[in-house]
Amino acid sequence: MRIILHIWRQKDANSPGKMVRYEVPDVNEHMSFLEMLDVLNERLIEQGEDPVTFDHDCREGICGACGFVINGIPHGPQPSTTVCQLHMRHFKDGDELYLEPWRAKAFPVIKDLMVDRSAFDRIISAGGFISVPTGSAPDGNAIPVPKEKADLAMDAAQCIGCGACVAACPNASAMLFTGAKISHLALLPQGQPERRDRALKMVAQMNAEAFGACTNIAECEAVCPKDIKIENIARMFRDFISASVLKRAG
């Protein structure tokens, strides 16, 4: 099939960008979306042109490197699917697709479809961990964890940090990402000692990074390739508010 692509091309962070039209005439339905871009890029390279830059690595939907917007939807039309796992059989001959990078102030464009997501790393650095230096752990079974809690923690921990939630949110809020990490650790007994402090610090960092606030639109949940639930945002608010109150009370 033939696919027409309009792709955001931007030389670097400081240059203006624009949409450029390309045609890929011989798309096979079994190709992944990124393989279609590989075919386009190989052609561009052989013509001596600059290929389209996009982040990707595992191509299995787990590393969180890939991600751009297809016709307005982060990671494209297929639910619960990263763009590297999206296949061309979901499109049809002659489709016209518009590819754009994540758009958010906290994720500046580096080049073409590639953005800088280091703000996420800084949110984790602020408190998204349990302080347990190597060697200081008790026996694994010394800390029983009820199965339901372990399962809920795992649901939240599945976040791949791709940034689709931010890209989907009209406020460019990072609350699904931050909420998922706060929930993951707050649901486990190991996470209790630092629970309050963690919520305060991570939320503060999130605010410092120019992410917006949450107004309960839930677009983030709709596009999340790992089905992270917005209940994690509720858990984050609960921890944040109780920590704030307790801190003020001294």
């Binding site: 096979n28 075919v39 787990i62 790393d121 650095s125 964890v145 795992m154 190991q190």
Partner: protein, 641 residues
């Protein structure tokens, strides 16, 4: 030039060696640690765990990765689980049993002392990960759950759904980010290491390219750790991430680090087959599927009927037929070779003919669709997402693919390479897995190296060798030379201005490697490959096309550099495979097999680690041998009939 191999295995009974070694190692006092700097290249399980632990101790650490965040290292993709000899299931597991299984699984080509230590340390790993908040699977009573995995008769595998690697890596990443916040670790994402700086025979730094600006930078330190993962992408198609490369270890090899057993590469039997020339990578389907799926091909070559129209008596359930006692659960190397054999006979299925069926219809009939859904639902979904076929109705098609590399830079017991001050950890070293790795052992090894071995052995090196007494400045001639060399390679790549993309050459390389140095190898084929590879390399340097320039984000340039190194590594792999005139583990030389096609080892002549020393471009590398002595596990013939 020239090195001598000394594995530095401590003396005494095996169960006391690591304790003894730890006691004898020199320590750096807490106050002095901040005077030392360590470079860690790689942020996967090995590098991430190592950098975090060294930071916690108080060393100044610089950590590098090529992705945009350390959390994306390829360890993230590991599915199945991690082994540990906890014996929580009370089924008779022990440190010795894990040690024994690993040595046997590796077909008696690994170092006993290292493997024993790995089994010992496995206990601490699980404790550490649980404390970090890794959400391992639990029983209803709240204790840790286990599953069993290939090559073992006990349940010792810990897991977090099908995403064990992800969760372990996030644990290490969180510890790492904590050190970043404290200023102990400085993180350099989107930086690719392109050379090693060696001064007075010691590793003193690296040269990197900033992947956004193209700037070359020299980073200096008192010790360097490479934890840069495996080189399975030498086959082009593999289950590795697109960016996985050999560049870091290959360039260290060219600076004098010995490369051990390069031909030991593992082919995983259950991956989704290639669907076309555009294919960019292969996806693993967990080995656990073989518990309930039955593998078959049509009896008649060239039978193109849809699977449901092929009657029972015209199907060949070849694993059940050839290996009646293990059946569909025969080990990875054995199953992979059997699949290749039936496809070579023209009985392969699917559009390319390179596939075999993995059929769940019997299991669905016996257990009901619900049970199968519970057990494998997410894998079935992934399969359908990729192939568009519904495995509840049509049998899955699978085929073997390159998955893991047992070979890597040679290291002694303290994980130091033949270059003093250069340590190698995780899949990048020649590791503890001999000629074949058992499932769920790579995650264990990466974390053992990073959390529990490097932090001691690097301290020992710093305290006894005192590299800090010979400060190296950025103006040193060795640093300049390394920078110039990297700039030179880059310039050459950009100047060729040929007609083909780097991927074109990578695909060609993959075809040669898969054909002649893949699942089975023979003398004539390897010699043929050794003719083809230099030709391809020559063509690469005449015909590759890299648009753009260095001073920009240039993914084609990144790729070209990696392909250039893979082309050279491919040659060394074939040479090593030719030289190892025996079959062992994943290395199958057709000349050495029993009447029914099983591998035949030659312990008399090949019970050694083959370590290659670089002797210059176009020169034959020199082979060194580290003899392997088995005092605790006596070599026997592996049989799975």
């Amino acid at each position: 030039m020239g090195f001598e191999l000394n594995a530095k295995i401590p003396s005494g009974p095996i169960e006391e060696q690591w304790d003894k070694c730890r006691f004898e190692m020199k320590l750096v006092s807490p106050a002095n640690r901040r005077k030392f700097s360590v470079i860690v290249v790689g942020s996967g399980l090995a590098g991430g765990a190592g950098a975090a632990s060294l930071g916690e101790l108080g060393y100044n650490v610089k950590c590098f990765c090529y992705q945009d965040s350390p959390r994306r290292a390829h360890s993230i993709a590991a599915q199945g689980g991690i082994n540990a000899a906890k014996n929580y299931q009370n089924d008779g597991d022990s440190v010795f049993r894990l040690f024994y299984d690993t040595v046997k699984g590796g077909d008696f080509r690994s170092r006993e002392a290292n493997v024993y230590r790995l089994a010992q340390v496995s206990l601490n790993i699980i404790d550490q990960c649980v404390a970090q908040g890794v959400p391992f699977a639990r029983e209803y009573g709240g204790t840790l759950a286990n599953r069993s995995f290939g090559g073992a008769q006990v349940s010792r595998t810990f897991y977090a759904r099908g995403q064990t690697g992800q969760q372990l890596l996030l644990g290490a990443y969180q510890a790492l980010q904590r050190q970043v916040a404290q200023g102990q670790v400085q993180m350099f994402p989107r930086h690719e290491m392109l050379d090693l700086v060696v001064v007075n025979g010691r590793a003193r730094g690296i040269v990197t390219r900033n992947m956004i600006t193209g700037q070359f930078e020299a980073h200096l330190a008192d010790a360097v750790v490479l934890a840069t993962g495996g080189y399975g992408n030498v086959f082009y198609l593999s289950t590795n991430a697109k960016g996985c490369n050999t560049t870091a270890i290959w360039r260290a090899y060219k600076r004098g680090a010995g490369f051990a057993n390069p031909c030991f590469t593992q082919i995983h039997p259950t991956c989704i087959p290639v669907s076309g020339e555009y294919q960019s990578k292969l996806t693993l389907m967990s080995e656990s599927l073989r518990n309930d799926g039955r593998i078959w091909v049509p009896k008649k070559p060239g039978d193109k009927r849809p699977p449901n129209e092929i009657p029972e008596e015209e199907r060949d359930y070849y694993l059940e037929r050839i290996y009646p006692s293990f059946g569909n659960l025969a080990p990875r190397d054995v199953s992979s070779r059997a699949a290749k054999r039936v496809c070579d006979e023209g009985r392969g299925v699917g559009p390319s003919g390179n596939g075999v069926y993995l059929d769940f219809s019997d299991a669905i009939r016996r257990l009901g669709r619900r049970t199968i859904e519970e057990r494998y639902g997410n894998l079935f979904e992934m399969y359908e997402r990729i192939t568009g076929e519904n495995p509840y109705e049509v049998p899955m098609r699978i085929y073997p693919a390159s998955h893991y590399t047992m070979g890597g830079l040679w290291v002694d017991y303290k994980l130091m390479s033949t270059i003093p001050g250069l340590f190698v950890a995780g899949e990048a070293n020649f590791s503890d897995h001999g000629a074949n790795r058992l499932g769920a052992s790579a995650l264990m090894q990466g974390l053992a190296d990073g959390y529990f071995i490097l932090p001691y052995t690097i301290g020992d090196y710093l305290a006894s060798e005192h590299p800090e007494r010979e400060p190296v400045s950025k103006d040193a001639p060795e640093v300049k030379e390394a920078l110039d060399r990297v700039a030179g390679i880059t310039r050459r790549l950009l100047e060729v201005n040929g007609k083909h993309s780097p991927d074109y050459f990578h695909r060609e390389l993959g075809k040669i490697m898969w054909e002649y140095c893949g699942m089975s190898r023979n003398e004539a084929g390897l010699k043929r490959a050794l003719e083809l590879l230099p030709e391809l390399k020559e063509r690469f340097w005449k015909e590759v096309k890299v648009p753009g320039e260095n001073e920009m984000l240039n993914q084609t340039l990144e790729k070209a550099g990696r392909v250039a190194d893979f082309l050279e590594l491919g040659e060394l792999m074939c040479l090593d495979a030719l030289e190892r005139d025996e079959s062992c583990g994943a290395h199958f030389r057709e000349e050495h097999q029993t009447e029914d096609g099983e591998a035949v080892r030659d312990d008399e002549n090949f019970s050694h680690v083959a370590v290659w020393e670089y002797k210059g471009d176009g020169e034959r590398p020199q082979l060194h041998k580290e003899p392997l002595v088995f005092e605790y596990v006596k070599p026997t013939v592996r049989s799975y009939k």
